[in-house]
């Protein structure tokens, strides 16, 4: 068995990026002078040397099969000398050095299902998580909602129709593998029922002290149930974060009747104009309604279009809301403001309005 005698390599780290850079990038590394958007989805970077690189940005569903990756590679071989990259928002960027290749490439990548767009003041891909495809703590699916929302907003991806940048993100539970807490619009899966305790297994598969310590509100206490060591939950203190379930599988929190989606708005990470901001609650709960989640797609489209109609050039969702006020946001979007919108966790008081400056 020659296979078994092979030296076992470990800790080699990722391949050096230089091996993956096209010659034009190696030659112009650190020498780029400016860029412009030449058409929807196409960026042109120009170097001090005069070299030109076109990046053709195409959407993916993030989940890609090896069959599709090979098709994408075929296009990169044909039009980009065998080089491409992916973006932090799961887009493909075909790296093109010959202008004549742009249009045929756009045609072919669209034909195989990866359309071009999402640059500048257009809607880029939705950063998202695994959902029911692969996660144990998901309160909803991820890929399905993303597909439904982007189908609905496709025109805004394909062309620059917005006043400024709009970034949507989705996380299927509060763990937020998608870290959606600083997005213009965040779609977040939420649980609404305390974990159901599997008393026969708590002591077998979990460490009870760790489990108790995992609860940020101290809602979990020791209990003896049917003569076995277990825990009880003070349900009034549970805020459905699921941290206990993460440390103890015997406290399942997923619940078909109560799980659903919440919508958050106004976050950003860039420093442009205003400092980075968290997203704030717009809609506390919408139902899980597969396969197309119409309540979610309608809610997102409404918020997007109200912002697009009212924001000034460059103004992000949060900047627009800060200018016009939250009352106007709820008024224009028709979203109901409820007691759940008023913070009740740590430092909640810092979010209460403390002036008589009110718009009438």
């Amino acid at each position: 068995m020659a296979e078994a005698q092979k030296e076992r390599l470990t800790d080699i780290g990722p391949p050096h990026y230089e091996k993956h850079l096209p010659p034009i990038i190696k030659d112009n590394y650190g020498k780029w002078k400016y860029h412009e958007i030449v058409k929807p989805g196409v960026l042109l970077h120009v170097s001090e040397s005069g070299a030109k690189l076109w990046s053709v940005r195409a959407a993916t569903p993030r989940i890609l099969s090896i069959v599709s990756i090979r098709q994408i590679c075929d296009l990169a071989d044909k039009y980009c000398d065998g080089y491409l990259r992916f973006t932090s928002r799961n887009n493909i960027e075909y790296l093109v050095t010959e202008e004549k290749n742009i249009d045929p490439l756009i045609k072919e990548t669209t034909a195989i299902g990866y359309p071009v767009g999402g640059v500048g003041h257009a809607l880029s891909n939705i950063v998202h998580t695994q959902g029911w495809v692969h996660c144990h703590s998901a309160a909803t699916d991820a890929s399905g909602i993303v597909k439904a929302v982007m189908d609905d907003l496709f025109e805004y991806f394909a062309e620059e129709k917005f006043p400024g940048k709009l970034r949507i993100a989705l996380a299927c539970c509060l763990n937020m593998c998608g870290a959606v807490h600083c997005s213009d619009i965040a779609i977040l899966g939420v649980h609404r029922r305390p974990p159901k305790i599997d008393h026969n297994n708590v002591n077998k598969i979990c460490e009870i002290p760790n489990l108790i310590a995992s609860c940020p509100t101290g809602a979990i206490r020791t209990a003896t149930v049917n003569g076995q060591p277990s825990v009880e939950i003070v349900e009034d203190l549970c805020m459905f974060c699921a941290n206990c379930y993460t440390v103890c599988p015997a406290l399942p929190i997923n619940d078909a009747l109560n799980d659903g989606l919440s919508i958050w708005v106004g976050g950003k990470v860039s420093n442009a104009r205003s400092t980075p901001m968290f997203s704030k609650l717009a809609i506390p709960w919408l139902p899980n309604n597969p396969p197309r989640w119409p309540e979610v797609t309608d809610a997102v489209k409404n918020i997007v279009e109200v912002w697009a109609a009212n924001a000034r050039p460059y103004e992000r969702m949060g900047e627009w809301i800060n200018r016009v006020g939250w009352a106007k946001f709820f008024d224009l979007t028709g979203i109901e403001f409820t007691k759940h919108h008023i913070d009740s966790f740590k430092h909640a008081g810092t979010t209460f309005a403390t002036s008589a400056q009110i718009r009438f």
């Binding site: 780029w32 860029h35 099969s65 069959v67 599709s68 990259r85 439904a148 807490h181 941290n243």
Partner: protein, 405 residues
């Protein structure tokens, strides 16, 4: 050889095979006949769509020899109904910095995953890794062996350093204030042990953004956010400014009025910037990329502590070092990183991120511990409450001594 294989019917998922946006269902279907695991994955997902709940069991501890991370154990809760998806482990593979690929390398990865797993990937996962979705425990070690032979290694998971990631930086952006990809690769290689073997209270992430636009969301998603900036003056090409205006660009509305510190002036001929009051927000540069550019004395701001809500609520990173030069071998940065890790690794509670740790022990105390001087750039404003925790106080005798002095 065999006739066309029968596959499961998935009427709900089929609804998502329609419409203009790329469909993940289409991705599954490319392998549904070839890979039983994909057919069963689709079956289980269809069942989730019918019943509105997930069916994956809580992870188990699986991995490759000698590593404590990089593999997420996953098992179906309905193994009798979907036997081929009984084991459905994820492998995280450390991507090349900046997510640049030759098609040759991508095809190699495809061949490995066709041989050992479901053939389904994420390009990429939230932290930046190439994600191989779905294989069995038996296949983990052989996959790892083929990956390392092809020059790839696993990324981080659990209480490890997580796979560092960065924007494309100087490879394709004129705004990059340091070599993000160079630094990302350097730190990844320097800290291979921390990346593969859990030794922290919880996860730790690095993200490198070349400028304050922060295209990798480092300020929200990295425990250590390394955001490029500059100390000297914004570079102005006055002819190019004029060209923008001559072409109808509304410089007053779109640039001056959007400047957060109102440090830009325009007298219909010349643009002037009071750089001493510029906060390096990037807006004017973003709006006029042909005319303005970051200055030449470039480096980065280090910010520490961002995270998603679990456990104590979401946090943004906060300023640790207002400006640092970043040139290989990056020793000053590495000294800071290791100084940050030491007290956190020693005193951090289980599942406590460094941002939560700092909030618990106090940022002032933390700075003292790691040997950094407090500076006003670190806070939005000084404290508003009078509840200062003094470590020491004078006794009567001390007071006399101090009067003498």
């Amino acid at each position: 050889m065999a006739e066309k294989k029968k596959v499961r019917k998935t009427p709900l998922l089929d609804e998502l095979d329609k419409g203009p946006w790329p469909s993940f269902v289409k991705e599954f279907k490319t392998l549904q006949e070839k890979k039983e695991v994909v057919d069963d994955l689709m079956g289980q997902l269809e069942h989730s769509y019918e019943t509105r709940i997930g069916y994956w069991k809580h992870g188990g501890i699986v991995g490759v020899m000698g590593y404590g991370g990089g593999v997420i154990g996953r098992y179906s809760a309905l193994p009798d109904k979907f036997p081929a998806a009984k084991h459905f482990h994820t492998m995280r593979i450390n991507h090349p910095a900046g997510w640049f690929y030759t098609t040759e390398a991508l095809r190699k990865l495809c061949d490995i995953w066709e041989k050992h797993g479901s053939g389904i990937t994420n390009m990429h996962g939230s932290t930046g890794d190439i994600v191989f979705l779905g294989t069995t425990t038996d296949e983990l070690e052989p996959t790892f062996s083929d990956l390392t032979e092809a020059g790839f290694d696993l990324g981080g998971s659990g209480s490890n350093l997580r796979t560092p990631s960065c924007c494309c930086g100087q490879a394709r952006c004129e705004w990059a204030c340091y070599d993000t990809m160079g630094l990302c690769y350097d730190l990844t290689m320097e800290y291979q042990d921390e990346l593969h073997r859990p030794q922290f209270p919880y996860k730790f992430k690095f993200k490198m953004a070349g400028c304050p636009n922060d295209c990798v969301a480092s300020v929200a998603r990295a425990d250590l956010s390394i955001i490029g900036t500059w100390r000297d003056d914004i570079q102005i090409d006055h002819d190019a400014v004029k060209a923008y205006v001559d072409n109808g660009f509304d410089i007053v509305r779109d640039v001056l009025m959007n400047c957060p510190t109102k440090c830009i002036d325009w007298d219909n001929k010349t643009l002037t910037i009071d750089n001493s009051n510029c906060v390096r927000c990037m807006h004017c540069i973003n709006a006029m990329p042909k005319a303005l550019a970051p200055g030449k004395d470039r480096g980065a701001t280090l910010l520490l502590g961002s995270k998603a809500p679990i456990i104590e609520g979401a946090m943004l990173s906060s300023v640790l070092v207002p400006f640092i030069k970043l040139e290989p071998p990056y020793q000053e940065l590495k000294d800071i990183i290791e100084a940050v890790w030491e007290p956190w690794a020693e005193y951090g509670k289980n599942r406590e991120r460094v941002g939560e740790f700092i909030e618990r022990v106090g940022k002032g105390n933390f700075l003292e511990e790691i040997g950094l001087e407090p500076v006003p750039e670190m806070v939005k404003h000084p404290r508003e409450n009078p509840y200062i925790f003094y470590d020491e106080y004078f006794e009567d005798e001390d007071e006399e001594e101090s009067e003498e002095g």
